[in-house]
């Protein structure tokens, strides 16, 4: 059991680092076992540094930096253990323009391998859509879904 855990930990760690480095060429990130001598109970620390300063515990990162680190971890896990679909509800809300572009590039990179359902208010994120659904709240307090297949609508 503990060999299996260690094997997967190393794979996820490598994958997380690869996704992070792909977004932040000057940065680095890593997972660390808090107690490597006892694999059965050890915890996992996360360190990341988007712009190549010093590696820091994630608690020290800013709002946007931690969102990007969480996304790198999510997609790092995806590469090792893919889920059938990913549902992200305004995951891009804390991002500045540059990180928003990285987020969009990340979705484009993995788009052919999984289904993504993305809730957003950001125009740039809408551009990745194959299908766009608009939701409205009608006067009677009932939500309504309006759909538009982008390739048909020739937006």
């Amino acid at each position: 059991m503990s060999e299996k855990f260690l094997e997967i930990f190393n794979k996820v760690n490598e994958s997380f680092q690869e996704v992070f480095k792909n977004m932040f060429p000057d940065g680095k990130a890593q997972l660390i076992l808090t107690n490597p001598d006892d694999i059965m109970t050890t915890g996992i620390e996360i360190e990341a540094q988007p712009s190549g300063r010093r590696l820091k515990k994630v608690s020290l990162l800013s709002g946007g930096e931690s969102a990007m680190t969480a996304l790198a971890l999510l997609f790092g896990l995806f590469q090792i253990n893919p889920a059938p679909f990913y549902l992200l509800d305004e995951a891009d809300v804390a991002l500045d323009d540059v990180n928003l572009q990285r987020f969009v590039a990340l979705i484009k990179r993995f788009k052919s391998q999984a289904q993504f359902l993305i809730v957003t208010h950001q125009r740039r994120t809408m551009e990745v859509a194959d299908i766009l659904y608009g939701v409205t709240m009608q006067k009677d307090g009932v939500s309504k879904v309006l759909s538009q297949k982008l390739d048909e609508a020739a937006v």
Partner: protein, 165 residues
């Protein structure tokens, strides 16, 4: 395997039967504040077996049933169906499509259906295990929850690796 459709009726603000059809690509959902986008996310969590009302932004599970409005009366039942394409037989059952349905009545009684015939929650959970969606459902990230993966304690993060094992 891929998601084919989500159908809601009487679930939160989706009083009328509402359908979202999916393709293997990327679907983006947009709309004004308060229009019902996060309710759609809650519908996914609920139909795949979520048992905690708090994770659905509610105090008791019956809060997911359409509560009525000035013009419409409250409904007595909430129903959501999530349909997967199963041509690749990732779900080890002999159907080209697999549809999970969850129903909740105002009385508190709940029903689960698999391709329209009654089943238990355990049956649905057992099938979902084959999809790597895992109990922690880290593939569904609710509004404001992206940081939760980072902000958990080091020992709580073990489960991310354990589920991938």
């Amino acid at each position: 395997m891929y998601l084919k459709s989500l159908t809601m009726k009487g679930f939160k603000s989706f009083a009328a039967k509402s359908d979202l059809n999916f393709e293997p690509g990327t679907t983006v959902i947009v709309g004004p504040n308060g229009s019902g986008k996060s309710n759609i996310v809650d519908a996914f969590l609920w139909v795949t077996g979520e048992q905690s009302a708090r994770s659905l932004r509610s105090t008791k599970m019956q809060d997911v049933i359409f509560a009525g409005s000035a013009q419409k009366s409250p409904m007595g039942v909430s129903e959501v169906t999530l349909t997967f394409d199963n041509a690749s037989r990732v779900f080890p059952i002999d159907y080209d499509e697999v549809a999970f349905t969850r129903r909740l009545y105002k009385s508190g009684e709940s029903e689960y259906l698999l391709n329209s015939s009654a089943c238990r929650l355990a049956d649905i959970n057992e099938l979902l295990v084959h999809t790597n969606m895992g109990r922690e459902m880290y593939s569904i990230i609710g509004q404001g929850r992206l940081d939760a993966i980072l902000n958990s304690r080091p020992d709580e993060r073990r489960v991310l690796i354990e589920e991938a094992a």
